[in-house]
């Protein structure tokens, strides 16, 4: 089911200056006893102010790892960021997240970048009241102290739609429903007025009616507070409804990026085509869902070819010889609406590519 809620989330495109987050050539690997897992292989993307970037892909495609590693929230070791930069811009000030010291990073986390995680039950400390868990981040970043911090925590609970916030401040996570717990997570994420919120499958653990409420809440706060959002999901429907731009990930690489409109209507990477083809459509009487043949690639070997080549109906010899670079599909204009695809085959013109990479 594809829900396209064009009315919300999409901000009118103002003239964009520089992206607030520029990630270049980010690679992450895990050094495990079974060998090296190449989880993220040289991904690059930009995020513009007030924008929602939907990051889609299946489990193990590296979407969560890549975003969490930006703030060093992956376990290190075994995790290791092997290359890349991630410039976070705010006014004239810009920092490279990857080269920050642990201490400097702790001032960015929570303060400038908020997080909403997948499972709100396990993501909240079961032994600490929800109010204290909100208050903690406020006091950490010196937004307020003492009773003022408590007042602000109660206000945040109200802001995320929790009734009777004064009493609910003292409740523990197990006394809340799944949706309410995720609201608490959102309150924590926005507590310090961050520039960016990374939402890692925030609705996956919730039932469908609650999903919609949580999406609406996050998008409303985003608009009100001017926050940019990276929304990680494997639910193409959810992302279609809220994202301004979409990045499709496969095998630890970004295979296609573009505005939500373009990627959904004119997918130009065989994986995206396969993914969209596998969605059941209400208005078509399909006997059987189309699936992508084969299984995702092994992540235990370094990427030297197109990760999708073994499953791709269009693949040819070059695909297994060389990893495809990102090709700009709408000319070489560098803009936030740029549509790119990492594929040696030009689906639009049905020709094989050899050059023209970004």
């Amino acid at each position: 089911m594809m829900r396209r809620r064009k009315t919300q989330g999409h901000t009118p495109h103002p003239p964009r200056s520089e992206p607030i987050l520029s990630v270049k050539d980010l690679s992450v690997r895990f050094n495990t006893v079974d060998g090296v897992v190449h989880a993220v292989n040289s991904i690059s993307f930009d995020l513009y102010r007030g924008e929602t970037l939907g990051v889609v892909g299946e489990s193990g495609s590296g979407k969560s790892v890549s975003m969490l590693s930006l703030l060093r929230l992956i376990p290190e070791p075994p995790g290791e960021i092997t290359s890349g930069s991630a410039i976070l811009r705010s006014g004239d000030e810009s920092v490279d997240l990857i080269s920050l010291s642990w201490k400097q990073m702790n001032r960015v986390r929570g303060r400038r970048v908020g997080f909403v995680f997948q499972d709100p039950l396990s993501s909240l400390n079961p032994l600490i009241s929800v109010g204290k868990q909100i208050r903690e981040i406020i006091e950490r970043h010196n937004i307020a102290r003492g009773s003022a911090a408590k007042r602000r925590s109660v206000d945040l609970l109200k802001q995320v739609g929790i009734s009777d916030a004064d009493n609910r401040y003292h409740s523990y996570p197990h006394e809340f429903s799944g949706g309410m717990r995720q609201r608490v997570m959102i309150a924590i994420a926005i507590a310090c007025n961050p520039e960016l919120v990374i939402a890692d499958e925030p609705t996956t653990a919730l039932d469908v009616t609650i999903q919609a409420q949580i999406i609406d809440l996050l998008m409303k706060l985003k608009r009100e507070m001017g926050i940019s959002v990276i929304w990680i999901s494997h639910d193409l429907g959810v992302v279609a409804g809220i994202a301004d731009r979409v990045m499709v990930m496969y095998g630890g690489t970004a295979v296609e990026t573009g505005t939500a409109e373009t990627v959904y209507r004119h997918p130009r990477h065989p994986y995206t085509v396969g993914l969209l083809g596998a969605i059941p459509k209400l208005h078509q009487d399909n006997k059987r869902l189309v699936n992508i043949k084969g299984t995702p690639p092994s992540v235990y070997s370094a990427l030297r070819q197109c990760p999708f080549a073994p499953r791709c109906p269009w693949s040819f010899d070059l695909c297994t010889q060389q990893r495809p670079p990102l090709f700009a599909l709408d000319g070489n204009a560098v803009s936030d609406s740029r549509h790119t695809s990492a594929c040696w085959y030009d689906l639009e013109h049905n020709t094989r590519r050899t050059e023209g990479a970004v």
Binding site: N106, R109, G110, I128, R140
Partner: protein, 306 residues
Amino acid sequence: MQRYLLSRVIQSIMLMFGVLILVFFLVRLTGDPARIMMPRDASPADIEAFRDAMGFNEPLPAQFFHFMTGALQGDFGRSLHYRAPAMRIVLERMPATIELSLAALVFALIVAIPLGVIGGSRPGTTWDTVCRAVGLVGQTVPNFWLALMMISLFSVTLGWFPTFGRGGFGSIVLPAVALGLFPLGKFTRLVRSAVLEVRNEDYVRTAYSKGLLDHRVYTHHIFLNVSVTLVSIVGVQFGYLLGGSIYIETIFAWPGVGRMINEAVQARDFPLVQALAFVSAAFIVLLNLLTDLAYVLIDPRIRYED
């Protein structure tokens, strides 16, 4: 909460009744108590007189009734060896054992908690190796051997501490260290593995995502959750220690109940053995009760599980 508390107190009282019944029958199960208690060369007439005096000639239900009514008033009969009320003697000895147990426990915790946290938070490092070694050594080195070695080094050669006896701070150091060695090893291993487990929890990642500093994440998020596991083991371990350590109290001539158990069994002083068994059991039950209460205080999820 109050219902939970009440039900746990009632359970504990019933358990103590069970202990009393066991204590009564165990002595009778071993055969003719009079013959066991009297010296081997006692004349039959003496044994018969003793049997009469102790009430062993009465029918078993009547004996049981006397024992229970006495025990409920704290009367476990007179110690054959000390010729005084058995319970009074046990209670006189208890403070020394409580003092030693507490000292051993505090020593074990003071070393084990930081060591376990350091080891668990840096797996595979030298600190972790030290932590694991301490855990292993603590649980495997016999405490009586360590006690003798420490006396030989610190008391005899260096003269830092008295060799035996109770009095002043210096006298408790060696017995507390010797007695605390086993719980130290146990706690270190427990804290280390609990930290290893808890640090991978999602809520710890959340704590870091808030920008909290390491020490705050450890003290407020990780250790709080580790303490749930720790509290249960500390309670049980303290209960064991309060039963008295036969070896350590004997080696250091520490005037506690542990040494008395040894003496009472050797002297076949059954009233005293019964009183000792009852008091030890009572302390273990009490500590289990306190442990459950501590759980409720730490973990809000337990409150409603009546």
